[in-house]
Symmetry: C2
Subunit: 253 residues, 2 copies
DNA sequence: GAGTGGTCTAGACCACAGG
DNA sequence: CTGTGGTCTAGACCACTCA
C-alpha cells in the first residue's frame, strides 16, 4: 500500500478508497494477514475514520475482508461454495447432509409462515432449529416449519423438545413422498438470534433461502435458512454435481 | 409513528430504531408513501442524522424502503420474484426470456473468466451485455462470455458490434446441444457501469448469479448476472413452475 | 431556489479480545 | 490494562430533483 494521497476525483472518496484497497489486497496481502488498524489507515490515506470505514464495509460485504471487534481486520479467504437444493429430491435430515438439528418447539405459526404452508393461522407447527457447519465454520442457521398435519404419526411424548425431538420430526417427514421443492434467495439482515448462531453482529447481511417442500399437491414443510453473505457462495447444481473451483469473479469497478 | 423517545437499552440505537421503524412501516404506512425527511425523523427520535441513516440503510437493504436523492424516502413494494435457472435446459436468448441484448464486443478474457471457461488467458471471447426488465423496472445487468471457439461458424462481419451482433452470437449458441448448467449466487456490490444500468449508486448491494453453460463436457459460455438485491427475490423453481405468491418472511428481530 | 438524500469531518465513548 | 473495531454526535457541504 504505497501511496498516501488520494487525488481529487469526481467519484466519492470511499469508493475510490475501496478500489485502491482492493488492489492492494490483491497484490500486497495474503489470506489471513492483519491490516493496519482503522485509525492508522485513515491517517495514511488522509481521510476521516468514518470514510475509511465506509470503504472497509464495502470490502467486507464483498467477502474480501473480515473484521472482528477487539481483534482487527484480516484478509478473508475466498468464499466457500455451499450447495443448496442439490439434494433436490431429498427431505431435510436425510443422511449425508451437513445440517445439525439443535432444537424443536411446537408453536403457533406466524402469519407469513401459515400463508406459505397454506394452513390456518392458528394451527400448530413443529419449529425445528438447525445449523449448518462447513469446514468447521457455521455458515447457516435454519428454521424448519413442519405443520402437525404433515407428521400426524409423530409419537406424542417421544421427547417434549430438544434435538431428539427435532430428529424425530425429521424422521417422520421422510416417510412422505417428496414431489418437488422450490427455492427462493433474497438478501436480508441477521436477526439477533441468527446473528449469534452465525458468530456475527445483528444486522449482518445474510442470504435467506426459502424452500418449500411439496408433497401430494400441498406444502408439507417450509425451510427458512439464513446464510452468512460475507463468507458464502450458494451453488445450485443442476448438472450432476459438477463443481466450480475457481475464485469468484472480482466485482471491482 | 407515535413515540418520540428511545428508551435506553443495551442494543444499539440504530438497531432498535430499525425495529421501531419497521413496525411503523407495517402498521402506519402503505406502499409508495413518502416518509418524513431524514432531518425531521432524526429530530423526532432524538438521534443524530447519521444514526437514523444507519437504520434506514438496514431497511433499504431488506427491501422495505427506497431512497432517491433529491426526492425522498418511500415505502418499497414487496420484492418481485424473478426466476433464475428455471429455463433449465435452455440457452440464453431463447424466445420468451425477458432479457434484452444491448451490446457485444470481442475482447480478451479476464483471468477469472478464462479460468471459468477453461480457455487460454489470451483467447478472445464475445462479451454480450444484456439487461433484464420486469414490470417496467430494470432488475438485472448481465455480461455473457462466449469464447470464439464455442461459435466458430459465426459470420465474420455480420455486424461489428452492437445489439445485432449480440443477437447473432446468441443465435449461434443455440445450435449447440446444452447438457446442463450450474448456478451460483453471492452478494456483491454494483460496479459503476452496472449501477448505472440498474438505476442505483455505485456500491449498491447486488446478487451476483454466475451460470456456466455446459456442452459436451466443456463450458460453452459463462453468464455473470447482477440483480438488484433490494428489489429482487431470486426463485429457483425445481417443481414445474409452481410460484410463491405471499410476501417474504419478515426478518425483524 | 428550496428541499431531498449522499458524502465527509473530527471528535467522543463503548464493548470486546488478549496479554 | 491496552488496542481493536462498533456506535454515536453535531455539524458541514455536495449532487440531485422538481417546481
Amino acid at each position: 500500500m504505497g501511496t498516501t494521497q488520494l487525488e481529487s476525483v469526481p467519484e466519492p472518496k470511499y469508493w475510490h478508497l475501496r478500489t485502491v484497497l482492493s488492489e492492494a489486497l490483491d497484490s500486497e496481502f495474503s489470506v489471513g494477514e492483519i491490516l493496519p488498524n482503522e485509525r492508522d489507515l485513515a491517517a495514511r490515506f488522509g481521510v476521516a475514520r468514518a470514510t475509511l470505514r465506509q470503504a472497509l464495509e464495502q470490502l467486507e460485504l464483498e467477502g474480501r475482508l473480515q473484521r472482528r471487534r477487539g481483534v482487527g481486520t484480516t484478509v478473508a479467504p475466498p468464499r466457500v461454495g455451499v450447495s443448496v437444493g442439490t439434494e433436490q429430491h431429498a427431505w431435510p435430515g436425510t443422511v449425508g447432509d451437513d445440517w445439525q438439528p439443535a432444537d424443536c418447539r411446537l408453536e403457533a405459526a406466524s402469519a407469513s409462515v401459515a400463508d406459505a404452508l397454506e394452513i390456518r393461522h392458528d394451527e400448530l407447527v413443529h419449529t425445528v432449529r438447525r445449523s449448518r457447519v462447513t469446514h468447521g465454520q457455521p455458515v447457516a442457521a435454519e428454521l424448519l416449519y413442519v405443520p402437525q398435519s404433515s407428521v400426524p404419526a409423530l409419537p406424542a411424548i417421544d421427547a417434549p423438545s430438544g434435538a431428539a425431538r427435532a430428529r424425530a420430526v425429521l424422521r417422520e417427514l421422510q416417510r412422505l413422498e417428496l414431489e418437488g421443492q422450490d427455492n427462493a434467495v433474497e438478501l436480508g439482515s441477521a436477526r439477533a438470534d441468527d446473528a449469534k448462531q452465525l458468530d456475527r453482529l445483528p444486522g449482518a447481511p445474510v442470504l435467506v433461502v426459502t424452500t418449500r417442500f411439496l408433497t401430494a399437491g400441498r406444502t408439507a414443510a417450509l425451510s427458512v435458512a439464513t446464510y452468512r453473505a460475507d463468507t458464502c457462495r450458494l451453488t445450485f447444481g443442476d448438472s450432476g454435481g459438477v463443481e466450480i473451483h475457481q475464485a469468484p469473479e472480482r466485482r471491482a469497478s
